[in-house]
């Protein structure tokens, strides 16, 4: 076997010579970062890959590296320009020189990077994702949800170890309003290849308690890395947009908003800003209810004051009215009182006149009566003065008469004149009714008696005394 052979080193030397001769230096290359790691010395080693557009099949792959000195500078430049850390999955435009080393083989040494290419690529991807979400009609869904007045029960999707999460919780728990926030962490990986599915899973877990929470807070863990690729991912955005609770993002980035930010209900820059927002919203609620209740109290006081005023006005209007009325009445009364003497004196005059008329009348009447009485007294006096004489005369006459009749009635004389006396049963007959037929009757005359029997009695009808 006398075939001619070279050593591997010789071969590699030859390749190195060819490559060096080809002057493959300072070539701008478009590639995707497949893998990236930084070693202890600060040198950056990465895989650059290219995939087929339609099938996602790997088409090319090369090792690349950035010297530590260069890497520090490029990294800062790239990140400050794109707002995105240099990481797996990014498409980059890099200036490379092809180097071949006998021991390490071929490597692309990156000397420069054009961040605008990456930005353009990210923007294009984002536009595509957004367009897709819009076509599916989910883009605005989370934005349309009404944020609660007080977001008190909070589901947090974050990396549990992240400083941003710890700060967020601290901020909520030490808020100056003294508001009690309830929060629960649904842990997720927020960067790297697994970030998308991890965030989607976390949303699924929150969904189990969807009735309990007021909102979901999606905060990025913070730290040095600013790998935001997952927040531009279609699947994360798809979950987020359609989530039945409002999602508040605090992903923390300086440049364009991520897709997650665009579809979220409320977008804030950092976890700190989210905490401040939640605290201020609840605080604002307290202020609003305090203001409104104070307002209500003011209105109530004002209304009561108005009512009081109205009552007072009524009263003050009423008092003059009453006064006026009283004055009217008083005036009327005074007029009446003023007329009183006239009326009284007239009445008195009338009465006096009437009285004096009566008095006059009674005066003349009494005079008349007195006169009458006086007259009758006079006549009576005359009568009285004459009466005794008359009596005396009368008595005298009577006496004289009696003397005469006494003489005349002397029975002896009378008997002599022819008068007689009749006796029945020894009794002088003065009443004919005491005499009956058959009685023995004795008649006495002046010179003797006649005896006989009564044959008949005739009684005279009129009883004349004499």
């Amino acid at each position: 076997m006398g075939q001619e052979a070279i050593t591997l080193f010789q071969l590699n030397q030859r390749i190195k010579g060819i490559i060096d001769d080809a002057l493959l230096t300072s070539i701008w290359v478009k590639a995707e970062i497949g893998e990236l790691r930084v070693n202890r010395n600060g040198h950056c080693y990465l895989d650059l890959i290219e995939k087929s557009d339609d099938t996602d099949q790997l088409k090319a792959r090369s090792r690349a590296m950035i010297w530590a000195r260069n890497f520090r500078m490029l990294k800062a430049y790239f990140e400050s320009t794109t707002g995105q850390s240099l990481t797996t999955g990014l498409k980059v435009l890099v200036k490379v020189s092809v180097q071949f080393q006998e021991v390490f083989g071929m490597s692309l040494v990156i000397s420069d990077i054009d961040p605008s290419y990456t930005m353009g690529d990210l923007a294009r991807k984002r536009r595509e994702v957004l367009l897709k979400l819009e076509e599916e009609g989910v883009l605005e869904m989370n934005k349309e949800l009404q944020l609660a007045d007080v977001i008190q029960k909070i589901a947090i999707i974050s990396s549990p170890t992240a400083a941003g999460y710890g700060d967020f919780v601290d901020q909520l728990e030490t808020n100056h309003w003294g508001i009690k926030f309830y929060h629960h962490l649904f842990p997720a990986v927020m960067q790297g290849e697994n970030a998308e599915s991890s965030i989607a899973e976390a949303f699924d877990k929150v969904f189990e308690y969807v009735g309990f929470f007021d909102a979901v807070v999606l905060i990025r863990g913070g730290g040095a890395s600013i790998d935001l690729l997952c927040f531009d991912s279609y699947w994360v955005a798809y979950h987020l947009a359609q989530f039945p609770l409002p999602v508040i993002t605090g992903i923390g980035h300086e440049r364009d908003e991520s897709v997650a930010d665009l579809v979220a209900n409320t977008t804030l820059k950092t976890p700190t800003a989210v905490a401040a927002f939640l605290i201020e919203r609840a605080g604002a609620f307290i202020q609003i209810i305090d203001e409104k209740s104070a307002w209500i109290a003011d209105i109530a006081r004002e209304r009561l004051q108005q009512e009081k005023q109205r009552t007072e006005n009524l009263a003050s209007a009423y008092v003059p009215l009453v006064k006026m009325d009283l004055q009217k009445r008083q005036a009327r009364l005074e007029r009446q009182v003023g007329r009183l003497p006239v009326t009284v004196s007239r009445r008195l005059g009338d009465a006096f006149n009437k009285l004096s008329r009566i008095a006059d009348k009674s005066g003349s009447l009494s005079i008349q009566i007195i006169r009458g009485e006086r007259n009758s007294l006079k006549t009576n006096l005359q009568k009285v003065s004459t009466l005794p004489f008359k009596r005396f005369l009368e008595e005298d006459r009577k006496l004289k008469y009696l003397e005469q009749t006494a003489v005349l009635n002397d029975p002896v004389k009378l008997l002599k004149k022819g008068y007689s006396l009749s006796y029945v049963n020894g009794q002088l007959v003065k009443d004919v009714s005491l005499v009956k037929k058959g009685d023995q009757i004795t008649t006495r005359i002046s010179n003797g008696e006649i005896k006989g029997v009564v044959e008949m009695v005739n009684k005279k009808n009129n009883n004349n005394k004499y």
Binding site: Q152, I179, K180, F285, I288, S293, A297
Partner: protein, 66 residues
């Protein structure tokens, strides 16, 4: 007192309704004190709900840990 499950939104809505009615002079004086009392109840309720821990809620959170 307001019923237990009254939300902040319901509380503020009720307060706003009362305010609106008061501003438009719809309430007569007799209703005033009643409504002012109701508002004060609502405010107290909201403040308590905001600032004190509800055991019921804490319980649900604990269940999530398990």
């Amino acid at each position: 007192m307001p019923k237990k499950k009254l939300s902040y939104n319901e509380a503020i809505t009720e307060i706003e309704e009362i305010l609106e009615r008061m501003e438009s002079d719809e309430l007569d004086v007799d209703e005033l004190s009643e409504k002012v009392k109701r508002v004060s109840e609502l405010v107290t309720y909201c403040r308590n709900k905001l600032k004190t821990t509800e055991e019921e809620v804490e319980k649900v959170l604990k269940e999530m840990e398990e």
